[in-house]
C-alpha cells in the first residue's frame, strides 16, 4: 500500500486545509455542470427557490424530457453534499422525477442560476475548542400542496452557533 498524502480531490469533491479548519467544495463539478447544460452564460439569482413556491404536479403544462430531467436532478442531489443550502430546493424538484413538467424544469433552472452566482462556495469545518453537540429541528407543517404532508428539516452542529 502506498500513502498518497493528504486527501485533495475525490469523486468531484475538492478538499483544502488551512489554519481555520478543513474546507470541502465541488467547484469543478459545478463548472462542469454549467458546461454540460450550456448554462455558462445564464443569469444569476440570489436564492435557489422562491418563498411560497406552491410547486405541485402541474399536469396542465407540457411534459419535459424525462431522462434529461432525472440526470440533472441527480447531479444536483450529489451537489447538495457540499452545497447543503440547496437541499430543500433539490428535495422539492426530486419529488417530480417520474412526471417532470415545464414548471419543475424552471425550478431546476433556478437552482442552477443560484449556483452560478456562487460556484466557489463550500463547507468549512472549523477547528473548535469545545465540543458541543446540538441538532436544530424544524418542520413545515402540511407544506406539500400535492398531498399535504409536512417537510422535515434538521441539521447538527459540533460548535455553538449563537
Amino acid at each position: 500500500m502506498k500513502d498518497l498524502g493528504k486527501l485533495k480531490y475525490f469523486l468531484g469533491i475538492e478538499v483544502a486545509y488551512s489554519r481555520q479548519g478543513i474546507f470541502i467544495s465541488q467547484r469543478k463539478y459545478i463548472l462542469d455542470l454549467f458546461k454540460e447544460t450550456g448554462k455558462l452564460g445564464c443569469k444569476t439569482t440570489g436564492w435557489p427557490i422562491e418563498q411560497n413556491h406552491r410547486i405541485g404536479n402541474d399536469e396542465e403544462n407540457p411534459k419535459v424530457e424525462k431522462t434529461q430531467y432525472q440526470r440533472l436532478v441527480g447531479k444536483l442531489i450529489y451537489l447538495s453534499h457540499t452545497r447543503s443550502n440547496i437541499a430543500y430546493a433539490v428535495s422539492v424538484v426530486s419529488q417530480f422525477m417520474n412526471d417532470p413538467r415545464e414548471r419543475h424544469l424552471q425550478a431546476v433552472d433556478r437552482i442552477i442560476q443560484y449556483l452560478k452566482a456562487s460556484p466557489k462556495k463550500g463547507l468549512l469545518f472549523k477547528k473548535g475548542e469545545n465540543l458541543s453537540m446540538k441538532v436544530y429541528t424544524d418542520v413545515d407543517y402540511a407544506g406539500s400542496i400535492v398531498d399535504r404532508r409536512s417537510t422535515t428539516g434538521y441539521c447538527m452542529f459540533f460548535v455553538e452557533i449563537w
Binding site: 474546507f23 418563498q51 447543503s84 430546493a89 429541528t137 407544506g143 422535515t152 428539516g153
Partner: protein, 130 residues
C-alpha cells in the same frame, strides 16, 4: 455543520405538533448515531446533547408525562423522546424562529435570511475576504 436532512415526511400529520414530534424523534436518532461515531473515535461526550426546537407546545408535551387525549396519535415518537430525555441523553431547548438554523431545510426563504443562515452553516467562499 456536520449532518443535515431535508425530506418530505411519509405520513400525513394531523397537527403541527405531531409533525414536529416526528422531526424531533429523527433528530434524537441522529444524535444517538453521532454519539456512537464519537465513541468509536474515542471522543468523550458526557453532557446531554442539545435539541433545539421552535414549537413550545411540542416541547411541553415532550416533558409532560400526562398523556393527553389529543396527543394519543403521536404516542411512539412521544415515548421515544421522553425516554431519551429521562435518561439525560438529550436536553430540549426552545429557540425563537428567527434563530432557527433548520429553517433553510423546510421552506423557501427571503434572500437576506437565506444568506445569513448559509453563512451560519459554515458555507462560505474561502477565496473571498470576509
Amino acid at each position: 455543520m456536520v449532518t443535515w436532512r431535508s425530506k418530505k415526511q411519509n405520513v400525513v400529520a394531523r397537527s403541527s405538533a405531531k409533525a414536529e414530534f416526528r422531526v424531533m424523534a429523527q433528530g434524537v436518532c441522529e444524535l444517538l448515531w453521532m454519539k456512537i461515531i464519537l465513541d468509536d473515535l474515542i471522543l468523550k461526550y458526557e453532557a446531554p446533547m442539545g435539541l433545539a426546537c421552535d414549537n413550545k407546545f411540542a416541547i411541553n408535551i415532550a416533558h409532560n408525562p400526562v398523556q393527553h387525549d389529543r396527543t394519543k396519535h403521536v404516542e411512539i415518537d412521544r415515548h421515544f423522546n421522553k425516554e431519551k430525555l429521562d435518561d439525560g441523553l438529550i436536553a430540549i431547548e426552545y429557540i425563537p424562529s428567527r434563530l432557527q438554523l433548520a429553517d433553510m431545510f423546510t421552506k423557501g426563504l427571503p434572500t437576506k435570511q437565506f444568506e445569513d443562515l448559509t453563512c451560519k452553516l459554515g458555507m462560505i467562499d474561502i477565496h473571498l475576504p470576509t
